[in-house]
Structure formats: structure tokens, C-alpha cells
Symmetry: C2
Subunit: 504 residues, 2 copies
């Protein structure tokens, strides 16, 4: 089959699947820049109420039969965008079956969830119902979402900005309240960036805590940087709910490559020591991000339960050099082969990544040396972290950092990964979360600013002023040591409880 | 420096270090075939008593000050063989320091331990004292121990047989009662084989449970098959003592690549289901090994606490093909470069491995495909294991298997790795242990036997009859699912308690 025939086939599957649940709906033409208000004009009040529920609330109401699985699933299908395929028959059949049972089937009984297109989904897990597959970019290696089949996924708060990627379909769908819970994958920021861009929570766990049965992609066999599967959700409690529920099924029995660790209760230190990374020393963030950091830091500094120190980044540029070389040990040859076989040109961001200076076809020996360089960097950074406890025997508990140089960038401009990819090479769990949103009166451009690097120059030019980022969420990221996934969520809970006064 | 100068330098370091603790001792010339009796002729009765203690007993007597650290360390140095360097100054200085302290410094306070040459040893761990570095083969990739610097390490029970390898110095030293506890590395059987050959216990844990700080070797960066560090010891209790003590130090804080798992208490099922692998379907084992299996099986079959079933091996030949290709993704080019730079010819067993049919220089893409093949094999085998519980919902708890085709082979003949390398690719923890020893009247050769493969033919010819294996220990191996390290030791304890009547 020719590639255009394949594209038509894929588009028809998508259109048919959406038409079957959204008959007769007319959307405004042209669409407004911010589309968050559209569900209000289409859904009835009862339906709208459900889209406002937190995941935990939905699960509780489903378990108590106050909501039927069928109605929630239908509703979720109605409000979507950014999907590659709705699964109405699968979802409704499954929902009816669950409703027919005398007891809930699992901790996520009846919860409609969406998943990134690249995942296998033979079985629903923990009782959840997979109702939609969502979009991802060409090569699944952009921090945006655009491909030659389904086109571009845009940001529900501002259609001129990207939803982020590569789990951009999830970011947009959950951010639009079109799905109460999403599952994405992160190899350079692909969960945390779309979550940050779309005003929700995105959690990248330590590798091998969440499995990827049936997962596909060009990175199969690539183990230099491990792709992590994790949740995108409108609340922190639903992130935790997912992790607990999933790990409660002991997935490591069936997927023997996983670590045999349930979601562990932990004891936080009485006083939390937070290292704040204002900049990675290469690209200073835009005004709304620095303001978001200041907001949190000012609030926490006056709180005796927190100690705030500066986090000193070390050689993050070197880390990026190793990281992107490990993405494509073959210099991208496997990717280029797939593109050629589909008669497909690389998109701008595909090409941009392949042209990073350290990416080239390597011999096996060179690839082995690269792993060695990665391991040395990991050991160095771990010691760096431990050294923060040299004087008081209390190393930093967490790093608070930007998720990227700014809010969601305009399309095709997400060319700085290092704020998220850094913690991929290091395998540190991290969660992104919205702190505030762009404020036109506060987030003015500093015209006297002098960029500290070429990458900084590019990213500085991306901020002509706040008008380019209207309504954009301003998000941050909390980073923990390897395997401290539980601590990551618990500390963010504490931070949110301590700073709820100015949130969003 | 020329290579012969380097060799002379290494030999002088070794000789000086031994002379300083064994002055004036004359050994019989020629040495007898079985050298286990020699310490009796050299040590005084008090010293001999100490070499008979179990590790736990030594540690308890050291903690209670009944033994001084210094005397035990000196003694251990006196009785050794198969070492590359004794560390008398380091050990005695450390021992004196420990004796000067008011309290024990750790769970292994004062215990003299030996370590394989390839490991770093900047610091002693858990209070133990590193007193000797032990021999390993050229390339550290033989199941024997022979190199152009120190020559061959032989079996203390029968000098015509190999001590095994690559941790052969540890096997011989601990088997000879020259060290109460050893630490080795296993990438294809290198802990379990020397332990089996020398009549002691060898435990290969799941990867990333025991760290390897400062470890060196040609496999740096090689992650297709992960080398595991683990203990070799004269008793099962000392294997457990080491694992508990080591993991009790939370090594994953300093070595962040390790899994954050302490030694976990576990609950064994009331009835243990043991899968017995009589053969891997490629090389049937020699008579003493089959007899050792029968001894255990007959005893356990009459015990209501055990259920014995057959273990069906699947595609172990395919597993070997993938495994050895992953050892040398570069076809051995890095190894050959090192050999050339030292003007060194590959030894017979080095050459044998490099000539395995699937080993060749690969492109990065081919190396990535190899990882994919490995991952598929792992998934298939895991499902195979779970399927053993299809009917009774109780999958096999452990596999009982040979460690190799026979007892310790004559020199240069260890050319069948699959009984141990199989569980390396699968990352299953396994422990080897002696069951009995060669019995000339029972272990007769079956002259009518028809080999089932070429490899079987070679290994059958290695058994002309029991006379070639006089005094050789006959050992087996117990294998568990990934991360079930604790269960592995606990089940072996139960098996030993149930079968102690005929042991050794």
C-alpha cells in the first residue's frame, strides 16, 4: 500500500470513531485561540459536572454505582481532541461488562483512561477502560506533537502554542478535560513537557517501575536512555492513585524486567531541604518561569518546614551531548530507513535532533564508550547530590527546577530539551506541575538581557513579550534521587499544601 | 615498559607479599594430587581450629574479642594459594585499628575476606578486612583460571582438574580453607562454577543488587549481559550473612545504579514445587552429576514439604547464541587490541570463546537487534515459568539443575557454559552447592551412551571414567526468578535441612 493510502486509512479510522460519539455537533469557525471554554457550550450541566471531577472522585462514584461506567465513558469520548482513534465499541462493551459485575474489579474500576498511540493495549489494567489512543510526533522524538498523518496537536489554552510532546495528545486531551487520566512515555521530557504546557501533572517514574507491554517504536533495543512510562493527570492525587493501583497489581511478575517494588509508604524528614535550580547555566528561563520559581521559593522560605538552598548544576551541556548521542547510537539510520520506506520527509524538529553535533553513526566500540561516559556522569552527579549534605549530614531532598526555558513555545520551536532530558540520563524521577499562568503585567521582557550561550540567544528571542503566550500555564518540576518516586509525590504534596494560597 | 618486565614486576609483588607471612615453610615436592591435607602439616592446632570455623562463628568470636582481628588475618594469609597479591600491611594495620575500637564497626567486623583481582578495594566494607587479591583468567572470560602472568590455578581437591573460573582464585582459596569468605564476579558462571568445582557455595545475585565500585575489565560499557558480583563461601549461612550485611549498608545511596532493596524476609509456600532439569537437552551431564540430582530428588520426593516436577528447558542453545554474541558485540576487537598491546597470544579458552559462531563485529543496529532478541527470549522464558502454574496456580518455586556437564574438568576443557550462562541472560539469581563427591564405584561410564549433539559428544569424551575425577566435588545449582535472591537462599536452606543425611 502506498503511504498516502495508509494515511487516508488512518484518518478514516479516526473520523469514523469520533463521528460515532459526536454526531451533529458544530464547532465555532474559526476556533478561538483558547478552546478551554468550548465544552461549556456543548455539554449539558450533568456532563459538565463530571468533567470537573477529580480522578479519585470519579473512581469513588463509579465504585459506589453513583455513576455508571457507561455514562462516564461516553462523556469522555464526547469531549476529546488530539486523538488518533477513539475506541467506543471496546470501551462501551467493557463498561457494560463492568457494570454487570457484583463488585469493583480493581482500584481503577471503570475509570476511562487515554493512552499514547505507541502503547499496546490488549488488556485494560486495574479495571480501567482504555477509551482513546492519542497523538504523538513523527519519530516520537519531539517535545511537540506533529506528524504527516494527523497533523499538529495544539495547546488547548492557546492554539498558537504547542501542546508539547511527545505525549502531546495526552497533554492536550487531559488538559482540555477530555480524559480524566492519561498514560504517556518519557525519554527526554515527553511526559513532563506536555503536562507542563497544558497545565496538568506529569510524572516520569524511575525506569522499570512501570511496564510497557506491547510498546512499539524505533527505540526498541536502545538501552542507553530508557523510556519511562508514566501518568498525566489533572491532579496529584490521581497521579498517586495510578501508581499505587498499577504497582498493586505486582506487574513485575508478568513483566520480569520491572523492579519488584510496590508503592512504598515513606517517612519524610521533618524539615525538607529543597535545592532550587534557577537556571541550568546554559539557558536562563523566561520571565513567567522565573516568577513561578520565585513565588514558590518566597512562600517556602518563610515556612519553618522548608530549607531552601541553591542547586548548582554541573556540566548539563555535557549530559545533553551524551544523552542525544545515546538516543541514536546508529546516527539515526534506523529512523531514516523508516522515513524512506514511507516516502516521508523528516519534519523540522526530527531533522533538528538528528543534526545535534554528537549524533553520528558509531561503531559498537564507540557506543560502549558512550555508555561508560554516561555511567561516569551518573556517578559524578550522584556524588554531587550527596555532597550537598557534607556540612549538615542532610543532602538536598529534592531539586525544584524549570521544565524548560519557558511556557509552551510557539510551534516548531521546542529546541531545548536539557531541563528534562538531564533527569532522563540520570534516571531521577520527576513530576511537572503548574504553579501559575502567564501574567501580561508581570512577565515583561527584559530588553537589556545578555544571553549566556547560543542556545540561550535562540530561546531569548522566543520571548518577544507576554502577548505571545497569552493564557499559557507556567509550570515547574520537582526532581528526586533514583527510585525515590514515592518521595517525589509526597514532597510535592507538602509543597502544594504549604503554598496553596497563590496557586494557578 | 615491555610486557615481560610488567610480568616480572607483578610476580615480585606477589612473592614478596607471600614471603612476608610464610617465612621458612617448605612444601612437599612434588605436591600431592589432592592438597587439602597440607595445612594440617604446617599450622599449629590453634590455627587449624580457626580454619575449621564457619564464617558466622569467626565473626561472632571476633565481635566478642575471643579472637583478635590481627591473629585471624595473619592466619588466613598463611594458608593461601591462588592469590595475585597478599595485603599483609594493609590488613594488619586495619586489624590493629579495629582492635583498638571500643565497639565492632559493622556486621562483618574484622572478618578477613579475599577478593577477585579485578575489583577495586579502596575501602573495606561492613568492617571486613580485605587481605588478599586472587587470580583470574586472561580476558576474565574463561570458566577456568589461567593467564600469562601468574599461570594456572588448580583445584585443591585434584590438581589435574581446574578450579574453575573466572573467579577461580576465590574458588581455590576458599575451597582450601585459605579464606573464610570470598567475593567474585559472574558473567557466564564465574562465581557458581569455581564454587561448584571446589566444593563450596557460590551465589550469583540478580544484577544490580551488589555493587562493583572501581571494578575494571574489558566489559566496561557492555550491558547486554550484566556482570554480577557475589559471594563464595564455605557455608550457606555465610553467603546469607554477607548479603544481609552488605545490603544493610544501603549501598544504593553511594552506588546509585543499584536497586534499593535490603535483604528482605520472605514467606515460603508451605509446599515447595521444585522443577528438576536433568539435562538442558543439548549436553547430558556426567554420571556423578546425574547421581547428585537423583540423591536430592529421591530424598525430596518422599518429603511431603516438596513437590518434584520435571523442568522443561526451552531453546537453551538459542540463549547461548544470543549470550555469547552479547559478550562481544564488537566481535572481540577491544580484547584483541589489549592482547596485541601486551604482545600476548590468546590462550586456548580465550580463542575458543571468540570463535563461537554468533560472535562477530556488529554494526550498532545489529547490536540493538541483539538486545531485542534477548528481551524477547526473556519474556518467553518468564511466561514459560509462569505456565508451570497453569493447572494448580502454583508455578515452580525453583529450578534444580546441574552447574555444568560434570565435576571440575581437566584443564583447558571448560567449553560448555550453557548450564550457568542461561541464567545470566535471564538475570535469575542462582546458588551452586556441593551435594556429594565422585564415587569411583558408582559413577561408572556408560559405554553404550549415544551423544545427542556435537557439544554432548565433546563433553562425553571428557568422562573416560571416574578415575579421571578422583576426589572431585559433585555440585548442583538452585535457580530462582529475577529478584528472588532471598527465596533462593531460603529454599536451599530447606532443601539442605531435608536432605542432610547423605550430604558430602
Amino acid at each position: 500500500m502506498g503511504s498516502s493510502v495508509l494515511i487516508q486509512k488512518a484518518l478514516k479510522i479516526r473520523e469514523d470513531s469520533i463521528d460515532s460519539v459526536l454526531p451533529g455537533v458544530t464547532l465555532p469557525d474559526p476556533l478561538p485561540q483558547n478552546v478551554q471554554g468550548i465544552p461549556d457550550t456543548i455539554l449539558n450541566p450533568a456532563e459538565l459536572q463530571i468533567t470537573g471531577y477529580d480522578t479519585l472522585e470519579i473512581v469513588q462514584r463509579l465504585a459506589s454505582r453513583e455513576l455508571s461506567c457507561e455514562s462516564v465513558t461516553k462523556l469522555a469520548q464526547k469531549t476529546v481532541n488530539c486523538i488518533t482513534e477513539l475506541l467506543p465499541e471496546h470501551a462501551i462493551k467493557r463498561a457494560k461488562y463492568l457494570d454487570s459485575l457484583p463488585h469493583p474489579t480493581g482500584p481503577l474500576h471503570g475509570l476511562p483512561i487515554s493512552i499514547k498511540e505507541q502503547f499496546g493495549f490488549e488488556k485494560d489494567q486495574c479495571g480501567a477502560i482504555i477509551f482513546a489512543r492519542t497523538s504523538q510526533p513523527q519519530s516520537v522524538m519531539h517535545l511537540e506533537t506533529n506528524n504527516n498523518i494527523y497533523g499538529r496537536t495544539v495547546n488547548p489554552f492557546n492554539r498558537n502554542l504547542t501542546a508539547g510532546g511527545s505525549s502531546g495528545g495526552e497533554g492536550a486531551l487531559v488538559g482540555f478535560h477530555g480524559s480524566p487520566h492519561g498514560v504517556g512515555g518519557d525519554i527526554g521530557g515527553s511526559i513532563r513537557v506536555p503536562a507542563a504546557n497544558c497545565g496538568i501533572y506529569g510524572f516520569k517514574p524511575t525506569p522499570f517501575r512501570v511496564g510497557n507491554p506491547g510498546g512499539m517504536g524505533l527505540i526498541v533495543g536502545q538501552e542507553g536512555i530508557i523510556r519511562c512510562i508514566g501518568p498525566l493527570a489533572p491532579s496529584l492525587s490521581s497521579i498517586e492513585l495510578f501508581m499505587k493501583a498499577y504497582l498493586g497489581t505486582e506487574p513485575w511478575i508478568k513483566e520480569s524486567y520491572l523492579a519488584p517494588l510496590p508503592w512504598r509508604p515513606i517517612q519524610l524528614p521533618k524539615k525538607l531541604k529543597i535545592g532550587v535550580m534557577w537556571s541550568d547555566g546554559i539557558v536562563n528561563p523566561h520571565p513567567p518561569i522565573t516568577r513561578a520559581l520565585s513565588l514558590l521559593v518566597n512562600s517556602l522560605e518563610s515556612n519553618p518546614a522548608f530549607e531552601i538552598v541553591d542547586w548548582k548544576p554541573i556540566d548539563h551541556d555535557k549530559c545533553w551531548d551524551i544523552t542525544c548521542a545515546l538516543y541514536w547510537e546508529d546516527g539515526g539510520r534506523r529512523l531514516q530507513k523508516v522515513l524512506r520506506s514511507g516516502n516521508e520527509a523528516p519534519l523540522e524538529l526530527t531533522q533538528w535532533l538528528l543534526e545535534q553535533p554528537t549524533i553520528r553513526p558509531r561503531t559498537v566500540e564507540e557506543a560502549l564508550e558512550l555508555k561508560e561516559a554516561r555511567n561516569s556522569y551518573r556517578a559524578m552527579y550522584n556524588q554531587h547530590w550527596l555532597n550537598t549534605g557534607k556540612e549538615d549530614n542532610h543532602p538536598v531532598d529534592a531539586i525544584l527546577s524549570p521544565v524548560g526555558p519557558g511556557c509552551a513555545p510557539p510551534h516548531n520551536q521546542s529546541k531545548y530539551w536539557s531541563y528534562t532530558s538531564q533527569w532522563k540520563l540520570l534516571e531521577y524521577p520527576s513530576v511537572s506541575f503548574q504553579v501559575t499562568k502567564l501574567d501580561p503585567s508581570l512577565d515583561v521582557r527584559d530588553d537589556s538581557y545578555r544571553p549566556i550561550s547560543k542556545a540561550n540567544e535562540f530561546n531569548y528571542e522566543l520571548y518577544p513579550g507576554p502577548e505571545a503566550y497569552e493564557d499559557a500555564p507556567a509550570s515547574l518540576q520537582l526532581i528526586m534521587r533514583r527510585y525515590e518516586d514515592e518521595k517525589c509525590i509526597d514532597i510535592l504534596k507538602k509543597i502544594e499544601a504549604a503554598t496553596h494560597d497563590f496557586k494557578k
